[in-house]
Symmetry: C2
Subunit: 347 residues, 2 copies
């Protein structure tokens, strides 16, 4: 019944009619539930229905490929790949250069894999490469960063705006709901901007005695982050919190606060091992971390589900050239503290 055909809607009518019969008489308290499958299928059929073939290859493609963040994502990608019985590989470029990552992506495409989970360093640079891969029958999904104007089947990410709000609640609790705040941000990066926007919106809404008094941009440079923080503390000796949109900024701020011997607390994002070390020794109060394992796991599940063609939404997705599966998944976030820090090391 789930054979992929060019006429999904016609197939659906058959399913719908079968279902309609199944639903008739299925009342609540009185009738016994109606079994609407024809019984579970034989193992071989199930394999055909969902699991992959042992020769199927799936790739994960990143930039700054050695960064700790991706290791957690690949753990989840591989967990799903192993469970589905397919091979999983990891490739990326060594820096954030878009042309270099496109070259790696095209190397992967040339291998004709079944699917690619991609975190594009620049959205626009990947529109054509992704579309070409999709047209060649290679499924592409995005995770972490996105290429929304491409034909990628879905996007799996964290809700950074929401994270900012939760970070504000956490910090407010730690500060007793009052105090001056310094911010280190990267406004050009969408996800970083959302971390700041969500934080500021929540402060404005719920914490009238907390106030942002200084902000700066360290551009991912730990030393610069430290000197910006030192200047902020000099101008505001009673600074209560440094809120930083990334780990490098958080580490720099932590070092500066320690040197200044003030009571300011530091909150940042992305639990790289060096950040966790500083959370554990108290230099950084806490760190918000995307659930990277879920990010990778559901990237693989999305690719496989798309490839198997087992979901037939009643919609115009084929005519409209859109994906048949979910449009976006929120992979969730955790707050890493001294108490739970050990669980987040990925070395």
């Amino acid at each position: 019944m789930f054979v992929k055909t060019g006429r999904g809607i016609t197939m659906l009518l058959v399913i719908v009619m079968t279902l309609a019969i199944g639903l008739i008489g299925c009342t609540s308290e009185t009738a016994a539930p109606k079994e609407t499958t024809t019984g579970a299928k034989a193992a071989a059929e199930v394999m055909a229905g969902f699991a992959g073939s042992p020769t199927d290859e799936y790739y994960m493609c990143t930039f700054y490929q050695g960064a700790d963040y991706w290791k957690g994502v690949f753990i989840g990608f591989k967990q799903a790949g192993d469970a589905l019985g397919v091979k999983t590989f990891y490739m990326g470029c060594d820096d954030g250069d878009a042309a270099k990552q496109v070259a790696v992506f095209e190397q992967i495409v040339a291998k004709k894999p079944k699917g690619i989970a991609l975190s594009p360093t620049v959205a626009d640079a990947f529109v054509e490469p992704i579309n070409k891969a999709m047209e060649a029958g290679i499924a592409v999904s995005c995770f972490a960063s996105d290429s929304p104007d491409s034909k990628r089947i879905t996007w799996i990410t964290s809700d950074d705006y929401r994270a900012g709000g939760e970070a504000a609640d956490f910090c407010a609790k730690a500060l007793g709901g009052k105090g001056k705040i310094g911010i280190l941000e990267r406004p050009a990066q969408n996800n970083h901007a959302a971390r700041i926007d969500g934080f500021e919106a929540r402060i404005k809404e719920k914490y009238p005695d907390m106030k942002v008094v200084a902000r700066g941009q360290a551009e991912g440079d730990q030393t610069k982050a430290a000197s910006l923080t030192s200047a902020m503390i000099q101008a505001n000796p009673d600074l209560a919190l440094m809120y930083c949109s990334a780990g490098m900024e958080g580490m720099g701020a932590g070092t500066a606060v320690k040197e200044a011997k003030t009571n300011a607390k530091v909150f940042c994002y992305d639990a790289d091992p060096a950040v966790i070390d500083m959370v554990k020794d108290g230099t950084i109060l806490a760190c918000m971390h995307p659930n990277t394992v879920n990010q990778g796991f559901w990237s693989m599940m999305a690719l496989m589900t798309y490839n198997k063609g087992i979901i037939n939404p009643i919609s115009d997705w084929k005519q409209a050239g859109r994906s048949p599966i979910f449009p976006m998944m929120n992979n969730g976030l955790d707050i890493v503290t001294k108490d739970n820090g050990d669980a987040f090391y990925v070395k």
Copy 2:
């Protein structure tokens, strides 16, 4: 390697160490990609890893069980269940009464199924029943509506606020960006409130020549919706749009506009067959519809993934008593028009 243990973190260290070895030397342009699985597994192992057992039973539980909306959800639930090789059943109560739905839910729990996908009619009424089921080893996920204070593993839903914004863009295009608007709403229902809020926010942000001039509550009563609409047209003969948060309201508004012989257009939500009929005959301009098939499909996938214990996020989920999988999934939305209406019938 994915055997469920009480010490997920310890297991992870093994995985992490294996992975670390796999990642070393995996550079971009020069080196060949490192195969990080030990090869795909034999069929029997894959079955053990992901697919269900043929005797496993999964239930979907709703209220107003005969409503068309659920039929699409169950199609997706069954598609996933069939692919995974488990039995799927549908039960619900006949009206929106919370006590009656709780009774049906408890009937299902007594059958000791592997999992239940639940759309609770009242969030609070289900906190204890859900928690009891989870403690008894029966996985529960929510879809459409939620019970956020319970221990349900996840929530699969539409982003109604975002839908409201997309509806505003669609209506603005149809009206040439200007005109008076009447609203029929149900402010007590969270998802309906979001449909209105998202719409109004987008109008305010992008369409200065569109203005809400009247609003009313028909409480799901088609006749009341028609008379409210008639009154709005009488007070504003040049009314350009009736924006309605549900299908009953949309059908009532459509009938009233037709009788008044004005040029007002009607936009509503939830593509029940009677609504599609009116979209097709031009009484209703268009209708926003959640992707119900994805809602059901991913409810099953979430339950199965949780039960198999194959995802081990690097986080404090076990200590914190939270779910190991994604916190929320957006199942997507479609705009149903005269052109694509036929694809959305579920009879």
